[in-house]
Point group: none
Chain length 211, copies 4
């Protein structure tokens, strides 16, 4: 008489299923609009399971933020510091990062767009997650901008600024990518590179930079 019960799975697996589903749903409709029931449904389980495993909607969202921040950080770190030396240059690093953002819309949307806009209960957690991402991208910038000899040519502060620009640009440009299916993350980075290398110095001639 009881409705069919889900197969018993080890806790770890179940949790991953839930967070996967939650990221998917949250990214589509946002934290408030997503109901726990909807998420449970998307994970193929019943509502109380979410509470048993994750405790509350808030904790579930937090778990999503953590996991997705981990994924960004891991991805970038793995590319920039592969187990063995040859560190990537700046543009190669950016390419990896852009590709992640473009290929993982749900992750990025939850992490960068939704998490940010939630107020109090998450402020702290979100800041921490963001800082981890920023730190990682900053590290990538630092690594990518050393002179052949190893000297740094951008200060820590400037490196962070560049990291933030990269993050904001990735976010903003990933929308552009969606609207331009004829382009790819790679072709986009190429464009940006060209603009930075060639364009900047040239189109700037008529506009005196601050002395």
């Amino acid at each position: 008489m009881a409705g069919k019960q889900q197969q018993r799975l080890p806790r770890e697996v179940r949790e991953r299923q839930m967070i996967d589903a939650a990221v998917r749903v949250f990214s589509q409709v946002g934290y408030h609009t997503a109901s726990v029931e909807e998420i449970a449904g998307a994970a193929g389980i019943s509502k109380p399971m979410v509470y048993i495993y994750l405790g509350s909607k808030e904790r579930l969202f937090t778990a999503c933020i953590h996991r997705e921040a981990d994924r960004v950080v891991e991805t970038v770190r793995a590319a920039v510091h592969p187990d063995e030396p040859p560190e990537l240059g700046l543009w190669s690093g950016l390419r990896v990062f852009f590709r992640f953002v473009a290929d993982n819309r749900d992750s990025w949307t939850v992490l960068y767009q939704h998490a940010r806009t939630q107020g109090e209960p998450f402020a702290k957690e979100v800041r921490a997650a963001r800082n981890r991402v920023i730190a990682e991208i900053t590290a990538m910038v630092v690594a990518g901008t050393r002179m052949p000899g190893g000297e740094r040519i951008v200060s820590e502060r400037d490196a962070e600024i560049l990291a933030r620009i990269a993050i904001g640009a990735a976010d903003s440009l990933s929308d552009w990518l969606l609207e331009h299916p004829d382009e790819s993350p790679d072709s986009l980075v190429d464009r940006v590179t060209d603009l930075a290398l060639v364009g900047v110095e040239r189109y700037n001639t008529g506009d005196l930079p601050p002395s």
Copy 2:
């Protein structure tokens, strides 16, 4: 039997007050978390007034989006195309835009961060508002990158990419500004300019740009 009534003000004034309050509250807690009552309170009136004048929470939010999009567009347009000639160069234009974002946190937060993350009911309106902003910044980029002779050196597509980068960067960097009270929008643009002009070509030597 009715409680003491507010001072009577003409509709136009009250509507502006409401939208002001709504932008403030929405920017702080987001669309869903903000209750109409809270907004009414912040505007110094009672809830039903919001419904009498604006119709619904949804329409109120839409009104905020429209007005704030207008403000960004107006600000940028006024700076770039002053009634009289001397158009601004790229960096001067960016400076105006950055300043707006930094000086109007609430507007920008609602427009760029919150509006985006709201799903269906707003998708269309938001897209329209965003496109207006993008178009304006793109125009600024185009205007700011002409050669002295007037020839364009960036294609339309690239101009829009630069505009999107500027927008994403402004958004991202305005957070950075908050965390660095010793800096200002102007000093920040100076840094970015320096990085773009001087840095790019130099720190790139070790990393071959795509051929």
Copy 3:
């Protein structure tokens, strides 16, 4: 600057306008669904006027009930007791009553259908109004069923029963009339008369009436 004000009309006229509008609106959507604003609009005046003249929505509805009950009673009375003798027979009286119901949908709907279904605040008023109508129809039945010599052939109690049947039937059949535009109140009464006179005794042969 002030919106155009309605022409000043004597109180009596204004009140009639309001009640006319109210009957119209109430009959269409019912007491609760009708908003005072809607009624004021239908009467071509502003909301506060309704309160100044009638005091409250409740009193406005009560006024409608009274007036419409008066109209039914007057109509029937005028037909049955014309200033001078020749009283009408039963069927002629019914014909008058049916015609009123059919020709005054709004009045009847408010009086018989809506007023009835409103609970407490109106119970008493409604009962009184209904009783006046019932009394009048009963009087008509009594008048219409005297023998040529003047003796009564239906008891008071039976006369009231017949009156109630007539009222319920008029209500029920006026719906039927709406669905059968090829018929008229008169043709309907003819049918009913035929059924009563000819049919009843005949088709009843196979079904023994209670001994």
Copy 4:
């Protein structure tokens, strides 16, 4: 933290309880005046349950209409077409119908009085329900007015008119019954029968029926 919960009952049972309570409450105060909370209270459960099971106040009302229409139809049908032949005569059928109306005030009030007066959202459903009832009573009239040999003596149209009269009369007379506790549905039908059989032909002599 949640208050004490009601005994757990299967959905089917709860739904019936809700509709029972709703019919009771709606019949007493009408659709608009009845609050969902009040109905939930009358059913011994909390408001959200009504929404979980029935979806909306509108759907709840519709469910009431359907169920009560079913009950009238079933009652009449069962009496008129018992599993085995001897169909009832007209008066016996009416007696069954009158008894239902008198014994099920709430059902009848909701079905005939309240449902009618509700405008748009219900118009269609109500019409359908009413038509089912009318059709059943009409069938009863047809069955009850056949000659011993089986020939029909009333046309379809006239049968429906008689059905409508019966319905309107039942509605109207059931009020009368309430005011006359010394009478019963049966005694009332007896009176009506007498009036129809004996009275009609007699008291009519002085009033010429239409030629």
